[in-house]
Symmetry: C2
Subunit: 366 residues, 2 copies
Amino acid sequence: MLAVPGVVGHPEIMWKSEHGMSARKPTIDDVARLSGVGRTTVSRVLNGGPNVREPVRRKVLEAVEALDYRVNPQARSLAGGGSRVLALVLASDLDAEPNSFYASALELGAVRECLQSGFQLFTRHVPQDDPAAVQQVIDIAVNQRCQGVILTPPFSDNADLIQQLRARGVHLAAISPGGGGRGLVDAVGIDDEAGGRDIARYLLEFGHRHIAYLGGIAGHLSAESRLDGVRRAMREMGLPDDALTVERGDFTFRSGGLIAARVLALSPRPTALICANDDMAAGALSVAHARGLQVPGDLSISGFDDTPVSAIVWPPLTTVHQPLKAMGGEAVRLVSERITGAAGDWAFRTLPHAVVVRESAGAWHA
Amino acid sequence: MLAVPGVVGHPEIMWKSEHGMSARKPTIDDVARLSGVGRTTVSRVLNGGPNVREPVRRKVLEAVEALDYRVNPQARSLAGGGSRVLALVLASDLDAEPNSFYASALELGAVRECLQSGFQLFTRHVPQDDPAAVQQVIDIAVNQRCQGVILTPPFSDNADLIQQLRARGVHLAAISPGGGGRGLVDAVGIDDEAGGRDIARYLLEFGHRHIAYLGGIAGHLSAESRLDGVRRAMREMGLPDDALTVERGDFTFRSGGLIAARVLALSPRPTALICANDDMAAGALSVAHARGLQVPGDLSISGFDDTPVSAIVWPPLTTVHQPLKAMGGEAVRLVSERITGAAGDWAFRTLPHAVVVRESAGAWHA
DNA sequence: CTTAAAATTGGAAGCGCTTCCATAATGGCG
DNA sequence: CGCCATTATGGAAGCGCTTCCAATTTTAAG
């Protein structure tokens, strides 16, 4: 290590790196002293402020390097720099396994963007059906002094929650809001209605005429518009309303199986199952296997989301791809723009979806 | 809201809840004023300190309630109360899907425990094969001023990383360390060797005599001892060494399929595949399906971990259950004990595992 | 060369909390 | 009833940073 003039006289700055903890982490004042400028100037350099001449900036940066200095985020936050903390709120049924792949993909995309924009991300799972859920989300945001919160369905549609968070000065972005959150908050999502229409069309082209839709909870508005899309596709193909049977579950593997069993007992038996997400499709697939039905020979099944689940099951699921990572990243960008102060109307960014053809859907044996 | 004596004269405390942000969040001084005690006393109550008389404590708590006061964690941290931030570090191959279920289960358990003990948890995914991984983990810990870090495999075995983090005053706990981390750090895990032995025995009892072990990367020590267990079981059953074929992948679905394909081309063909985790088993299962092999009729397959993947595939996987949530929780407890100051030798808590019998393993057609 | 305007820079005041230390109240005993 | 050991309580000093504002240096006109 260099013999640093400014640091002389502060013997407690030494690092006893061998036997445990260092005596003291370098502070902004250490950097200021070492680079021979004022504390304020260092702060300017660190925060990309204006009015710093190039040679000065370089000197400061060198000192930062030499001392391996890192801004203390807690101090920065206290001093008014903003906590730079964002929370990603995911719904989950407490002890049931969360829809991990969906959540992970969103999180991954969000974290990556946070790294770039210098935010810190917390991911928190909140039991969606809990009546205290709203309060819990607020607690998360307020307790940690989050500057922003990213809401996922069905929280994206909770106008009350949105209102309350905003009243406490928290900036927001929503992922896939349906009617509720739309226009109330910055958001990102795909065109769910088109997604539903596309997958339905794909199936109808194989000639399927009895279709069942395995949906999620009704309050999940974006998933609900997938159903609207399915209905539209059928109408456009001139099919009667009773060609479609609709049943609802809760997006879990288990409920997919339960509903599939119910639907497969119908007569005439549907030849295709359109599921609201991949997990439910996987559940339906298991039931099909258990009954010895060939997929897609006896029964076509489609998923939604294109999470890894769709590739893991057999046969792999034909599904609708959602760019979840990109959605997570975009959500971060949206809140961060709000935090930076950009005003204006609530944005809704629509990202592209696509039907991913694998092997679980096709024509059926006569 | 109550007309609060102490607050009079501070008109800026009002909440303009309608049009956006509140003017100011209540501080500890507001609580002190309202309850008519000193700031220090409030702090004591908030932190469970000694020497506070019951009526005083109650008064303070009432004021907290009335003002909906929350400690500002940033301020507390700055003042020396410790950041109360923990980081859970997970390995992942950057763009490959992380083993989400494994990660989520650990995280869920950890978060739950954190809620109880008042810690804040960050979950961060670090590309394991990156040479800069160690530095990245250190950055996460240092930048956020984490008090503790929970390491998962293969970081649990990285003595260098452990050393460096400790040198910076970060407290640690490791999940499932193998040789490397064992004895260097507080840790929790199952008896992997016994787990491997148990599942191997289960299969051998069906009479399998040609077995392939689909392992993970060799550096993943705890998974490696599962293989030791398998070997031991075979030896105990008097089987020759060449009854076991060992191939390695990287714990992903994809590599499971790749290796399975290779192994199934062997002659004589193994009648059972023991996989190092559920994802690889799922990959192997897909390959079996693709080749028209009956499972378990033609081929038995077993997983490890008992993540939801094992229930989602068909047939559902016989696997070894790891109490992942409990492990996550225990890890938090371990670091938090260190932070609180309990000294002593490094602990290793062994949690119970169990063979979960489902349908992917059994006897084979003669 | 002056002189005002613009660009840099640093001093000082907190942000909300914990903690050290001094002060005040309480209690046990002789 | 006093006196000293406890037990309670509050005052004041920072923790490391951002930011307001005043001071200083440049630069651009005049």
